[in-house]
Every structure is written in structure tokens, then in C-alpha cells.
Symmetry: none
DNA sequence: TATGAATGAGTATTCATTCAT
DNA sequence: GATGAATGAATACTCATTCAT
């Protein structure tokens, strides 16, 4: 009566199942991925960078990227943020707080420190990245403006204003002068990360910064004329 | 002096690699994994189900799946097999063997028992799964046909044939009639596992089965005319 | 004085540019793509269908798909909608409007017409698709319920109600009975698009529909009237 | 009778293949294409710019692009070349040849002329483009260095050298000083084509250039001579 | 000459599977 | 046994390029 429902053996030989197709390579660390990504983003731009190349340079697989970053865009943002925040923090604590002496001395410390901590490192590629991708990443650009441009400009203006107030500097507009102070450094950073590869000796960073400082010393110097008049 | 460069909180620092490489979570039991897998396979289909979700629902890790099942395909087969074999066995022993009385009474017992053991449980999702994946899993489909469809159909035909032979049923074709007996129940199972989620009150299972039985009673009834004539 | 800015010739020989890597194949028509997609979606489900295969079956390239459909999901929706709307419209105009005579005659016309226009065509794959993907495509499911299930059920209930009102049918519940009328046809459609491939001769559609109609004739027959006449 | 199956409006019928295969739209001129391309290249970078968008902005079809430019790369090169060569030629003939008077007057003419012919026009986007794509287009970079950077630098150095020789300028290094002269202008160009869109009022070009000139006047002034005269 | 539908190589992203811990 | 980070084949989707009209 009930043998309609006899259940026979499953004769189930799995036809095909491929053998292990990969081997573990290494323990991935997000820092290495971010460093590799920064290099390639700086070199080829956002769209021009292939995640496969990022993975290869970091020594991990493509899939590992997605373990730490939600996608290409998030990787880019993380890389830029990370490339900015940590150096800025370090810059502030190791350079700015060393200040002693005149406004001009502060500029010197600032410029040398910038070269040491930013200009001569891979971080100097970030500005190029921001400039190149500003239209494509409004959020990142906004962040850069708010966190770097605005406070940096404020700092420079403040130094100028102090120098002017104390008579150390000529009566100049802090606004435009602040920007003029940083322009050669920015150009240096951009140069080093783009055309500089084709003309390696074109700009000697140390001589360039020194020349800039020397120009500034004369450009900003409080009028010695009055001093002479008095004497 | 240095608060020009205050860096606001960053909501997205570089992700860090988690330290403890693993901790034992629970004692895994394959039954729980299979139950979770059945739910998700029924819900999203084979290809649409991610093993990660199965593991999460079962409360185990992805790796644990592979301790008990050779792979996704094997998990699927095991789930379907297990979802079929054990309920069928139980169905057979608890429902079919209760048979007493007329052919029509057997149908009633069968239908109510089916609802109790199959239709109202998660097992009712299996037919949907089979229908959806028939082309992708010939082996499983073959198994289902051999173990469920063919014996089930044979059983139904046998009941019809007995009813016809005894004069309880009208002279109908056992083949087509057997299939017609089960069609509404199958539809009910499919409905409950698909569209039913969107129109929960559309079908009242009890009333539906009863209406089906009542239809059958009239449709199959041996011609009372002759009986009256004789008496 | 001005020869700093002499512009030299661009000595620009383009190093590499590959030659034409493809040849035009044919004029694509979205109908062919949709037909190919319907076949494959019915066969392998949504996730199991590769757009590359759809393109190949339609005789076009992968890119051409995106010329007409925004993506896989949109293709799926378009295919289902198109598979429903146009046949339903035709069904309505060519079958339903032929109605003449009794309620039972209408059922016969309906069932035969359904088989002619839906059941025996590739459109019969749509229900399987809907059932399988209901959870993954709420929008499509909603559409199917609103446009097919609800009006179809209403139509069936209306036929039953008319038959009951005129005394042609026994006093049955239009709700459950309406669903019972369509159940075997739906099962037939599902069978033909799934398990039927493995057991081609298992169901003879014509005999099955005829048996269903014959069952209904007896099940619904308004016998009481005749009894009263006799007595 | 048949309004059970009313099918509501479908908002998405199968797309149809457009009938007229093409109609002439306009007389294309390569200048318009190049202008559109320059805008988009500056905005989104090389890889981020789609030729389809270039064509749309130029008001021509994609195919027309290829009538005038061999491909994306060639379009890019042509755009950069054209964006450089013609303005440089014009700049040379209309600005540089107006030279009269002192070295400092020449700087003023140079800067104002640069702003008039380059800085305030879309040509100012080229430097950003070069910086961003330097690694991807060695050939274009080489061209830019040879045709713009080197002669431009030579010109600046020559002006400085002349000023120093005549005693008008302090004894400064022509090399570094030449670069320092142009740095703020370049920064201005870059700013206007990237971050400037987010902070439109941040830099007032006229005031900025004037401030730069004023700084230079003081920085370069050959004061020692006068002192000697007085003494 | 101008068009834009058709093409397919290239790339971002997913997820089944492995294995060191 | 149990874990989950790492892997890379597979696949959806993009877009520079071609060519019949």
C-alpha cells in the first residue's frame, strides 16, 4: 500500500568541480593598499587608475581591496583623507609649535618644515590630485578647502598681520600676501609630481625655497627709510 | 597660535585589520544550516542566495558551512533531499497508514495530512524551488520526479482506480484525475511561498481545501441515478 | 627678443593604435532581444541568466543590449511586462469577446483559448518566472498581481457567480471555486516549463483540460433543480 | 463583460528601433569640437571625459569627431596643441613686442597681458590638464615643456638678467627668480579651473596680480645703488 | 559629409571557496 | 572543530571606435 513512496538512493556523483584555483599570498594591511593607491592615483588620476594595478602594487588580490574599501570611489576618498589628516596633524604638532621669534622666522620654519614633512614626501601628490579631480569629487574638494585651504590661508594671513602690526613687515594686504607666500611652495609640489619627472634637475627645491624667502625678506621688510631718517 | 589647523573629526579613518583572528562562536549543527539555507533558497532562488547570508542566518561562519557541505551545490542538494526525504517518510508513516474506509475518506485524510505535514510548513517551499531550478539541477529534478512525482501520482491514480472499481467514483481516467486531485494543493504551496507574501489573505487554506474536497465529492460521485433505480 | 617662444613642429608619431577589432553583425531589434531574454530567464532564472548568453541567442553583441535596456533588471522587467501585457490584450480581444451561451460554455472557451494563446506558447513561462522571482522583484510581482491575478480571479468569480445565480451551477463559494478553476491550468503551465522537460509525455494537455472540464461539469452541475422537477 | 482584464497603461513598452537612420544636423567645424573638448577635458580630466559628451556639447554626432580627429588621444593632443600654439603666438605678437621701458615695466605688461590673453580665458585650463595628465601623455608633456616651460622660463630669466645687469634689480639668481615670478600666475590659473568653482570670491585676480607686482617691486628693487648715490 | 546603431575589449564588483590560525 | 581574511574566476556594465546609410 505504501510503497509508492519508497525513497531510492540518491545516485549523485557530482560531475564537475574544479580544484583549488588560487593560493593565499599574504596578510593584507589597509595602509599598504592606501599607499599603493595614492601612488597610482597621483600618477594616473582617478579614472586612469585600475584597481587591479593598485592591488598588484600592494601585493594583494583585487578582492582584498573590497574587504577594506567599499569601492573605487571610497578608496579614493579614504586615501585622500588619510593623506591629508595625518600629515596635517603631524605638521601642526612638530612644526607650528616650534615657533619662536619674529614673523619672518616663523615663515622660515614653516617653509622648511613644509618641505620636510610634505613637499619632499608622497603627500605632496595630494594637491595635484585635488586639483585634477576637483570637479569629479565635490565632497573631497569641499573637505580639502575646509580643512587645508581655509585654515592654511588663515594661518598665513595671521602671520602677515602680526608682522605688519609689529612693524616688522611693510603695510601689505594680508589676504593677497598670504596667498603669495604659499604659491611657490604649491607650484613646487605640483611640479615635482608632474612635469618634474621629465626635467628632474629643473628646480632645486632648497635653492628655490631659499630664494623665495630672500625675496620675501626684501619684499616685506618694514621701510628702513624711516629708520634712516630718524638716525 | 596653532589652532588654525584644527582638523575636524574624520568620520572615516583607514580601516584597521581586526586583531583577534577568530573566536569560537557556537557548536554548529548541520540541521540549523540546512534550515537557514532552505529558507533563503526558497526566498531568493539558488543563484540569488549568498552563502554568507546562509551562514549568518544559521549563526555560524562561512567556513563552517564547508565542514558539513562540500559546496553550494551540495548544500542545495542536501537541503532539498533532506527537505523531501524526511517529511515524505513521516508523511507516509503518519498519514498514509491511517487509511480506513472509503476512497474519498482517504483523499480527505491525505489532503488534511498534507496540509498539516507539508503545506503549512517550510517544506512547502521545496516545490517552488524545484520548479524554479529544474533546468539548472537536472539531477535534483530527476530525484524529485522519481521520488515524489511518480510515486505520488501512482498513489493518487491508485486511489482513483480503487474508487472507480468499487463504484464509489464515476468512471474517470485515473491518469488525468490523479493530477487534478493534487493541482490545487500544489498551487496553494506555490502561492504561499511567492505571491502570497504580497496578498496574505487572498487564500484561506482550510476553506480552499474544503472547497476542493466538496467539488471532488460531486465531481467523482458514482451516479446515484442507478442506485435509485435499483432500490 | 621674441624667439623664446618659437614653436617647433610636433614630432608626433602615434606609437600604437590597434586595428579594427570587430565587424558589424546585424541590425538588432529589441523584440528579438526580449524573446531571447524571456527564454533564458524562464530556463535559468534571473540570477542564473548571463547577459552574454542573451546577447548571443539574440544574435547581437553585449553592448547592444544596453542600447535598448538600461541593465539586467530593466531587461527583466521589460520582458515580463511585455510578455504579459500584449498577450493579455490579445487574449481579451480574441477569446473573451467570443462569449456566447452558458457559463460552462464560457469556461470551455476560456480554457481552450488560454491553451491556444498562453499555455502552449512561450508566454506560459511567465508564471514560473513570477513565482520564482517574486521575492526579488516586488515591483514586478505587484504588477502581476494587480494586472493578472486580481482581474483574472475577478473574472472567474464572476462566471461562477453568474452560473450560480442562473441555477446552472450548484451553490458554491465563488471565491474558492474561482481559484479551483484555474489551478490545473496554472499547474500545466508550470509543469511544461520545468519538470515537463524531463517527462515530456507525462501530461497530455488536451486530455488534461478536457478531464478538468468534465470534472467541473459534474462538480458544478445544479442538480437540485432537476431533483425537484422529478419529485 | 470583458472589463475584468483591463490592463492599465504601461509606462514602459519595449523600446523601438528609431526609423530615420540619420539626418544631417549641421555643418561641423573642428574648432567647435576642440572648444567643447577642452572644456570637458579641463573639467573631468582625460579619462573622465566621454567623447559622447564632447560631441553633444559641440552639437555634432559622435561619428563626426572621427572625421576631424583620429581618436580620443589625437583629439586631446590637438586640443592641447591648439590651445597652446595659437594663444602663444598671439601672446608673443601682441604683448611681448609692445615692450618699452624698464624690466619691471615689462613684467607688468607681461602679467597683465597674460591675464588678458590666457589667465582669464579657457586657455588657463591647459596647465591643469598638463599637470594632471603628465604621466599619461609623455609626448604632450614633452611638447609643453619644450614649447612653453623652457622658452617661458628663458624669457623670464632674461628679463631678470637684464634688470640685474642694468642695476634696476637687486643681485638675484635669474633661475629661481624667474620661476618665482610666474608661480602666482600659475597658481591663479589652476585655482580658477579647480577649487575656484567652490569658492568663487576667494581670489580677486586683479588685486592678486597687483599685489604680486608690488611685492616684486620691493623684492627686486636695486636699492644699494641709490644708497651709494645718497652717501 | 554627417549620422548613430552596433561592437567588444576593458574594468569595477561580487561571491564561492580555501586555509592559516 | 570553528573562524573569517584572502583569493580570483565570473559577470554586469562602459565607452572608444567603426561603418552602413
Amino acid at each position: 500500500m505504501t510503497d509508492w513512496l519508497v525513497i531510492r538512493d540518491m545516485n549523485a556523483p557530482l560531475p564537475t568541480r574544479p580544484q583549488p584555483r588560487w593560493t593565499r599570498r599574504k596578510d593584507a594591511r589597509p595602509e599598504e593598499i592606501a599607499a599603493a593607491a595614492l601612488d597610482l592615483f597621483v600618477e594616473h588620476g582617478y579614472a586612469g587608475t585600475r584597481l587591479e594595478d593598485v592591488a598588484a602594487r600592494a601585493g594583494v588580490s583585487k578582492g582584498t581591496l573590497y574587504l577594506y574599501f567599499a569601492g573605487k570611489e571610497e578608496l579614493f576618498k579614504a586615501v585622500v583623507r588619510e593623506g591629508l589628516v595625518s600629515p596635517l596633524t603631524e605638521f601642526r604638532s612638530t612644526v607650528l609649535e616650534q615657533y619662536k621669534g619674529s614673523a619672518f622666522d616663523l615663515l622660515r620654519i614653516l617653509f622648511y618644515g613644509w618641505w620636510e614633512r610634505i613637499g619632499s614626501t608622497r603627500i605632496s601628490g595630494i594637491p595635484k590630485l585635488i586639483i585634477a579631480e576637483a570637479h569629479n569629487f565635490p565632497e573631497i574638494t569641499r573637505f580639502y578647502i575646509d580643512e587645508v585651504v581655509v585654515p592654511g590661508q588663515a594661518m598665513l594671513e595671521s602671520i602677515v598681520a602680526r608682522g605688519v602690526a609689529s612693524g616688522e613687515f611693510r603695510r601689505v594686504s594680508p589676504r593677497e600676501t598670504g596667498t603669495l607666500l604659499i604659491a611657490p611652495l604649491l607650484l613646487l609640489a605640483l611640479w615635482r609630481n608632474s612635469l618634474g619627472h621629465y626635467e628632474p634637475g629643473a628646480i632645486d627645491a632648497r635653492r628655490f625655497i631659499d630664494a623665495h624667502l630672500e625675496m620675501l625678506r626684501n619684499a616685506l621688510a618694514g621701510t628702513p627709510a624711516r629708520v634712516h631718517k630718524v638716525s
